[in-house]
């Protein structure tokens, strides 16, 4: 292999691809990335066997070939080079890098030894706009279940149907659902569970790359493809395995009605939750008390060692059931903070269902996002 490439192009590719290569002690080749020529392109790819990323860059290809080299070494080294042309050459499993006054050799392994990233055949990919898709993923990606007792909850559920996509995550204490509407209807239905790591990488890679993302499906894998500007050739491909199993019927958890609806300033509410949290002790408990008749909302927290905090929340109280006079319910403050941080609007609706029923946070004036949070049961 012999290639002349601009530092900026090589660096862009390495920044994206090298994130997947980790510290794998049992299979050291997974710490590497793979460089190979493909016609007029240099391709850079990496996989952890669950998630694969591939990046194509234009370069002057003087001799075809390839090599796999340690990802961290190559990417941190290239990052320090001056903004000039870089000559890459492979001779007897060593990568020679020439740039300006700098001559470097990195020892590699045969390209054949690198695991193959699967290809997916699908002639009717779904097309999405990168920016709203990434923003939606970011609003739910933190809420998957951490442990492996229910693997299907450890990923994000994506459902594509006609004019919309639903993005959902839950750890059974809270649930976030984002709805994205399409300008053009799609003529297929798909649903799958994407591992959290792959979802985070999509946000990292595409949230500042405006354009169209094509989704190709297979029973166990999904491929996200982003084109090189003004061509149909791919620039970035992300391939992920899917999580097996059926996602639970999460819709039944979302309450269809509520006793009372509070309309609050998001930032004020967030600050008051944070102030209360200082006195919540190890249980993380903050209490919310609503007197519906008096239109009063109060937040309380106390710890026998530290002291206590009480605040009055300014906001509108709407009695939606007509049956309840007062509600007193307790939340884990972290769950309230997490939900509020994912709401973009300045006003937030907070819908309560008695002492133990699920509550819902929503951006005011936007029905495309909701965050269900379970109260802490009184002991």
């Amino acid at each position: 292999m012999k290639v002349i490439i601009l530092k900026e192009n090589l660096n862009n590719g390495l920044n994206i691809v090298s994130r997947v290569a980790g510290k794998n002690l049992t299979l050291p080749i997974l710490n590497n990335i793979l460089l190979t020529t493909e016609g007029n392109f240099l391709s850079i790819s990496s996989t952890d066997l669950e998630l694969g990323i591939k990046y194509w860059s234009l370069g002057k290809i003087e001799r075809q070939g390839g090599l796999t080299v340690p990802a961290k070494i190559l990417s941190s080294f290239v990052n320090l080079l001056p903004e000039e042309k870089i000559a890459l050459e492979v001779k007897s499993q060593v990568l020679y890098i020439d740039c300006g006054n700098n001559k470097t050799q990195i020892k590699g392994l045969d390209a054949q030894e690198y695991p193959i990233i699967p290809k997916i055949e699908d002639d009717k990919p779904i097309e999405l706009n990168t920016l709203p898709f990434c923003e939606g993923i970011a609003q739910v990606v933190d809420f998957t279940a951490p442990n492996q007792t229910r693997p299907e909850l450890s990923g994000i559920y994506l459902r594509f149907q006609r004019d919309r996509a639903l993005l959902v995550a839950t750890d059974s204490f809270r649930l976030a659902e984002k709805t994205l509407y399409f300008e053009q209807k799609i003529d297929r239905e798909e649903s799958f569970i994407l591992p959290q790591k792959a979802a985070r990488e999509l946000v990292n890679i595409f949230s500042e790359r405006k354009g169209k993302l094509k989704l190709y499906f297979s029973p166990n894998q999904i491929l996200f493809e982003y084109p090189m500007s003004e061509t149909t050739h791919p620039q970035i491909q992300v391939v992920s395995r899917l999580i097996e199993g059926d996602y639970p019927d999460y819709q039944s958890i979302i309450p269809q009605k509520h006793d009372v609806q509070l309309s609050l300033s998001k930032n004020e509410f967030l600050n008051q939750v944070k102030a209360a949290s200082i006195f919540s002790g190890k249980s993380n408990e903050v209490k919310i008390k609503v007197n519906i008749k008096k239109q009063e909302i109060e937040m309380l927290s106390q710890s026998p060692e530290l002291g206590e905090n009480r605040s009055v929340l300014a906001g509108k109280v709407t009695d939606t059931s007509g049956k309840v006079k007062e509600i007193e319910t307790t939340f884990n403050y972290r769950f309230l903070v997490d939900g509020l941080l994912n709401i973009k609007s300045s006003k937030v609706l907070f819908e309560l269902n008695g002492e133990e029923g699920p509550a819902v946070l929503r951006p005011e004036g936007d029905t495309n996002y909701l965050y269900v949070v379970m109260p802490i049961k009184a002991t």
Copy 2:
């Protein structure tokens, strides 16, 4: 105690003072700060028994008194309050805080139980400008010795004489010296060893507070005092114990001549050291080779596992001894990086003394800073 104070004033004081209060398990009161009224002022103070900080703020004092409360609880709570007036009141060892819609109680301990920060009597304090003093401290503070085998090297040596102050630190592998010149001569000489923690706090507190700092001396302690604007009343006092012992005769370590002087672009040199460091392996070794006759400077690093890096450094080579044709010497790359990061000029002078003699880095055109670094001896 009953005080009305602006949130901003209380917050400023807490941010400065609460940094000293730590997690002290054997003496829990050291996790607290002390609030007391002094005439028209509220004073906020804290100590770890080696370093004490005190801050005065104007407020409306309605009843004199005091209390000591957990520093982290109070400072993180006040930080979240709206920008309004805060009412502080002490009743039976509880601090009541009222601000806007927020009512809070923090349990405290009797003010009498808090350790006393010593007072220093000295009628001829030295005056310094905060900004150059803090910049100078910052340029040496990282280079003290980490361990306690030689306590006198664990602090910064400060020497005041006539028209200048010398700030020095060394861990015996490298040494940094900064010279500050005064506009007006001082008529006393002082030298002392300041603990690194106190030096870091001075930089944190005063590096963005333009003004004059007064230094008051006693045999075992030093007091730094910063006045409230447009008054002579102190706003901030920092009191530190001094490290006992004699500072070594460090001047004898600074080489008075050199074999060769290199003039290099600081950023280019820094980047080349970093690039070489990737291949330096666990020993951190990078080699510098100078061919004086050919005016060539080369940097090399290699690791049997990873590969190697060679670069040619653009720069001027000045033969200062006339006796040496070639120098090849090896450095710990971290020590070169640390020194270069503390040099502000765009060009740097690098003076070498054979294979094993101490080398010196200096900003070009500025004799007020120097950084001595020992090569790694050939094994």
